[in-house]
Amino acid sequence: MDNAWRTLQKGVLYGDTGGHLLQTAGQGTKRIMESPVVAVLILVLLSGQSVTGRVLKQIVEPRNYDYTKYHPLSEITAWMKQIETENPGVVSTTIYGKSYENRDIAFLKIGLNSAENKKAIWMDCGIHAREWISPAFCQYFVKEILHTYKTDAKVEEMLKNLDFYVTPVLNVDGYTYTWKDNTTRLWRKNRSPPSTATCNCTGIDLNRNYDAVWGTFGVSTNCCSILYPGPKANSEHETRAVVDFVGARSKDILCFLTIHSYGQMILFPYGHPHIKDPNHDELTAVVKNAGQAIKAVHGMDYIVGALAEALYPAGGTSMDWARLIGIPFSFTFELRDKGEHAFELPENQIQPTCEEAYEGARSIITYVHDKTFHNITTLPNAATTLMATMWTVLLTLCLSSASLL
């Protein structure tokens, strides 16, 4: 029934009058079915539902979501419901917090055979309101893994072993505000009201609000500043939503990815210039590899390194907080571009940006997955070291067997 309905919808929308119905109805009824009016009447009778209502719903809520356009929050929320409906048993949505203006903060949980204590990957987008390419990437990422897990054995394996928690828009109030008009497009912070009696500006920089060497570098105590970290760490609803959820599961979360723009970078902890991560060398190798994976797609160069060295010192970032509570792999992505369009990345760059960022994210996730589940820590360019080891072992075996025989 649904199939016939869909073909009729296509016919009505694209003007191919009843042609598709010919195949289902058979030659005998050809002449009758050629009349679209008759076809519509029949379907109305069979389904008992209004045709115009159904068709209008199709136009308003299209089945085929456009991943190459920027979407306002309402469309992203509808898309999340659609993804959940279309992928039962694989995708579920959870509201894990509320923003200051009382909007839902939600993630999509994606995984095969999801269990309570399954290992997981965390990805959040849109912590800074004006970085529109970031939510666009989260949506693309979700689409890509759901479209490929049935044909790509590696993706399927990773979905079996891992759950993905993807938050398409974390700073829901700020993001909504940037859609208001051209004077608000470049807003960065959330929309919390002034927090002190003496300072009269709105908003706190959510990526300075986490309890990770909070309030030290890369911040301003002036509440009007774009880098105002709040009156204290964890003061914001949006921050606490992440901290409460991720904090409770820190033993199971293997990798924390937070997506920003612009700058074309992949960064790892710490933002404090005098603290070095104990697995600094491993992280450097991982991001170098990810940078190469990105470059292979469209030739774009991403700078990789520790935040305090590659970009600027900054305290209170979510990436640093995740690392400090024990999540071993924590990264910040800065997507396109390098300043040419800055935050207003053209829509025609959404697709290529997402394609390359996907490969970068995938290379990191694959490394984390393989290290955890297969104990493999070699990266593609480290294969030469492995080969050298293998040949040494074989040579030893050969020599020892020669002496035995």
């Binding site: 859609w179 500043s225 774009i226 390098k338």
Partner: protein, 291 residues
């Protein structure tokens, strides 16, 4: 060794080979690995200084200094049809001159942003003056590929069109929220970026990294001295402070004379706002109007 020995050997080798990673010819050098760079002829003032501290090219000190060099080059070479962007920093060093300031020596490669072509390498020297002096950075560049920039034909056509048209050209929100720039507005955006380079150069220091975020609006004014003139309201973004800074510029341009900015005024965020208090983290001092 007898036959069983050889078979064992072959089996072990085959197993070992299948366990090893797939054959991968050496990948292209990553973004951070230096290629073989031909040695450029070193100008006398950059030659021989051994007292410099070597900098990591992709870390932020070298990157910020390189950006300043690029702003400088754009003030001299950018037009409605061409602009220069940084491709990569290959080598960098820093000399601390005490009260005189900090001098960065850089080996950088450039790209032309409109056509996305290679512009070769540059040796640049960027001097950030000491704290006592409130001056703009001093830049010297020796570049090999800038002669390639030639957009004279398009510039002449644009100049003719704007000079002889009956209605003055104007535009706003370039790019718009979706990043779109109408094709006929692209040259005006590039012109805005060229003009913005003068401001970004002057306002830069070791704690800034400027890009132009948007042309809020522009209007064509009366032609004067064979130069087209425009009023531009541009938005600059500083990556380090994340601030959006509003500037109002008077821009003059002709294909022969290039781009100049006779007047530049910083627009405070709100007219009754106070400057950041002394207690906050050090921020750039209030930008002053350029003459």
């Amino acid at each position: 060794m007898g036959r069983p020995g050889w078979t064992l050997w072959v089996v072990v080798v085959l197993i070992g080979d299948s366990l090893a990673g797939p054959y991968r010819p050496d990948a292209e050098p990553g973004p951070l690995e230096t290629n073989n760079i031909e040695e450029l002829e070193v100008p006398p003032e950059l030659d021989g200084a051994m007292s410099d501290a070597e900098l990591v090219p992709h870390h932020y000190p070298a990157q910020r200094a390189a950006k300043v060099a690029v702003h400088y080059l754009n003030t001299r070479h950018a037009s409605p049809y061409s602009c220069i962007e940084l491709n990569r920093v290959h080598k960098a060093s820093l000399e601390d001159l005490g009260q005189a300031g900090k001098k960065y020596r850089l080996q950088i490669s450039l790209k032309e942003c409109v056509s996305n072509t290679d512009l070769g390498q540059c040796l640049a020297e960027v001097l950030f003056p000491g704290e006592q002096e409130q001056r703009a950075p001093q830049v010297q560049c020796s570049c090999e590929g800038l002669k390639k920039l030639n957009t004279r034909a398009e510039e002449d056509a644009l100049f003719q069109r704007l000079n002889t048209s009956n209605s003055p050209l104007s535009g706003c929100n370039i790019p718009d929220s979706y990043g779109n720039i109408a094709p006929e507005m692209k040259p005006m955006w590039h012109l805005g970026a060229a003009a913005a380079s003068f401001v970004m150069l002057k306002e830069s220091n070791e704690s800034t990294l400027y890009n132009m975020a948007q042309v809020a609006n522009f209007t064509q004014l009366e032609t004067e001295n064979d130069q087209l003139r425009f009023k531009y309201h541009i938005l600059l973004h500083d990556m380090i402070s994340q601030e959006i800074l509003h500037w109002k510029l008077l821009v003059a341009w002709s294909p022969a004379g290039g781009v100049s900015v006779p007047q530049a005024d910083w627009e405070p965020k709100c007219h009754h706002c106070e400057l950041p208090s002394a207690k906050s983290t050090p921020e750039a001092t209030k930008p002053s109007s350029a003459s």
